[in-house]
């Protein structure tokens, strides 16, 4: 029985996958707290799709996919911030324009290739079981960088998430903090790409934080709970996928979705019993 439960951990690629799942779950759901509170849900999807162009360009140039994806993701994130602030265009419109443009560039470049051999399927839907030792170091490195930035900018991010205008007037530079957050988000998305893929990365950025939002009423507990639920989703989803023999990325997102509806249910019960009391 115990042997059966521990079976997934006997393979080295599974061990790497679990470490990656832990890092990705922690990072995405922590950043997701800002995504949910600043109403940036669309942005994960947007930057992830835009990074597709980077992957194709990296393929054509024979460079590491991660490097291409990271450059395009960061440039797109900064572009979104710039057009939004300078053009007085709403953020969701800006994201909509820039990410479809970048995604189309990726498809266009790809379509001009006659013999096309890169496994783009794995970038669309993720392949956490294919995480190599180098990938793992990159994930951990980027993850630590984003984690340090979160600690350094913690108060500024909190204040500007609640009231960017007053924070700016008091001298906190909301604009710079927003750019920093967008870059942190772009790097987080690159980290998540390999494990859950372009299509599902938005779910990991939104769902655990949205679930935590149902159950908490203060910022720090929300972030801590989001991180816990995020790790439960990624590690638990990966574990379940081994036994269910399903796609790991899809199982992770399905588990996160189930947790979200569970949180929503708990909130409804609490509200109901509070009214009766």
């Amino acid at each position: 029985m115990i042997d059966a439960l521990l079976a997934p951990f006997q393979y080295e690629f599974m061990q790497r996958a679990f470490v990656a799942a832990l890092a990705v779950g922690l990072l995405c759901s922590t950043m997701g707290t800002y995504v949910v509170l600043r109403k940036l849900s669309f942005i994960g999807d947007g930057i992830a799709h835009a990074s597709f162009a980077g992957i194709v360009i990296a393929y054509l140039r024979g460079v590491d996919y991660y490097v291409g994806a990271a450059i395009v993701a960061v440039v797109t994130a900064l572009g979104i911030g710039f057009v939004h602030r300078r053009g007085r265009i709403s953020l969701d419109t800006t994201i909509g324009v820039l990410f479809t443009g970048a995604f189309a560039l990726g498809v266009f470049l790809m379509s001009r290739q006659k013999n096309y051999a890169v496994d783009l399927q794995s970038f669309l839907f993720g392949d956490i079981l294919g995480v190599g030792a180098n990938d793992l170091w990159l994930i951990l490195g980027l993850g630590i960088a984003v984690g340090i930035a979160t600690i350094v900018l913690f108060r500024g991010l909190l204040y500007t998430s609640f009231d960017p205008v007053v924070a700016d007037a008091s001298g906190l530079h909301s604009g710079r903090i927003e750019y920093a957050l967008l870059v942190m988000l772009a790097l987080t998305i690159i980290v998540a790409l390999q494990s859950v893929g372009i299509v599902l990365v938005a779910a990991l950025l939104v769902t655990p934080a949205a679930a935590a939002y149902q159950l908490t009423s203060r910022f720090a507990p929300m972030m801590a709970l989001a991180a816990a639920l995020g790790v439960t989703s990624t590690v638990g989803g990966l574990y379940l996928s081994y036994f269910l023999r399903g796609s790991s990325g899809a199982t992770i997102v399905l588990l996160a979705t189930v947790i979200f509806f569970g949180a929503l249910g708990i909130k409804q019960v609490r509200t109901f019993s509070a009214r009766r009391a």
């Binding site: 509170l37 007085r88 600690i151 350094v152 900018l153 913690f154 108060r155 500024g156 909190l158 204040y159 998430s161 609640f162 009231d163 205008v165 007053v166 924070a167 700016d168 007037a169 008091s170 001298g171 906190l172 939002y213 908490t216 009423s217 203060r218 910022f219 507990p221 929300m222």
Partner: protein, 248 residues
């Protein structure tokens, strides 16, 4: 000429939103220990003037100096701006204490902890607006007047050198308004310069040392009595009353 007693000096200020001119050559000076009331009809540029002094909007021409320099070059924590309460999402996961504590953030470095002095400043601010007993309440469970008081408390906790208030008396009950007036007067008497926009034209002489009547340009400026006697105030007053009737 700028003098040492001048906290805010606005000269020939022009502010545009795209092609719309919101302020067209406004000039005003506010001294330390002086409360300036800004009145005018809707769309007259009252909020625009406050936001430009706060460094949130850039002048198209003219200049704004706060404590002798452009607002964006001031050290963090210098200016406290109290916006209208509709400006934020009140479902944000924060208690009354959490929001007032944000007033301390501009002065803190990331490695410094929230000290005993910071807590004391937050506590003092909560007491001064009469919200100390609601410190643990979630901000979504506050009335409009209480939300307004939380914003004022956050500004006080910041211990600013300039206070800007954007229509803090709109939609609050008479008791809250009076306690706010007493609080603002005590801050002004302690030397803080205060600029405040208002729709409420009654009792301006009890609120302010100087009054500015604005309609994209400065229509009148002086002590409340001088402005009332100038006559330009009467048309605004009529205008404001018409607005109030239209709202109800």
């Amino acid at each position: 000429m700028t003098e040492a007693s001048d906290a805010v000096v606005v000269s020939d200020l022009v502010v545009r939103y795209d092609r719309t001119v919101a302020l067209d050559g406004a000039s005003v000076t506010v001294r330390f220990g002086e409360a300036l009331g800004i009145v005018g009809p809707n769309g007259s540029g009252k909020s625009t003037l406050l936001k430009t002094i706060a460094g949130l909007l850039q002048p198209a021409s003219g200049s704004v100096n706060v404590l002798g320099m452009p607002p964006k070059r001031l050290p963090p924590g210098t200016i406290a701006y109290v916006p209208q309460i509709e400006a934020v999402d009140w479902s944000f996961p924060a208690s009354v204490w959490d929001v007032v504590a944000m007033g301390r953030f501009p002065r803190l470095r990331f490695w410094t902890t929230f000290s005993r002095a910071d807590r004391a400043a937050v506590e003092h601010a909560l007491v001064s607006v009469g919200m100390a007993n609601l410190r643990d309440r979630h901000i979504s469970q506050l009335s409009g007047g209480q939300q307004q008081r939380v914003f004022v408390a956050r500004a006080i906790a910041q211990e600013p050198r300039l206070l800007l208030l954007d229509e803090p008396t709109t939609g609050v009950d008479a008791a809250t308004e009076e306690s706010l007036r007493v609080l603002v007067r005590s801050l002004v008497d302690a030397g803080l310069p205060v600029l405040m926009t208002t729709h409420d034209l009654d009792r301006v002489e009890q609120w302010f040392d100087k009054l500015l009547v604005l309609d994209r340009r400065v229509l009148a400026y002086g002590t409340p009595n001088e402005v009332v006697e100038s006559g330009s105030y009467a048309s605004i007053r009529e205008h404001a009353h018409t607005h109030r009737h239209m709202r109800t």
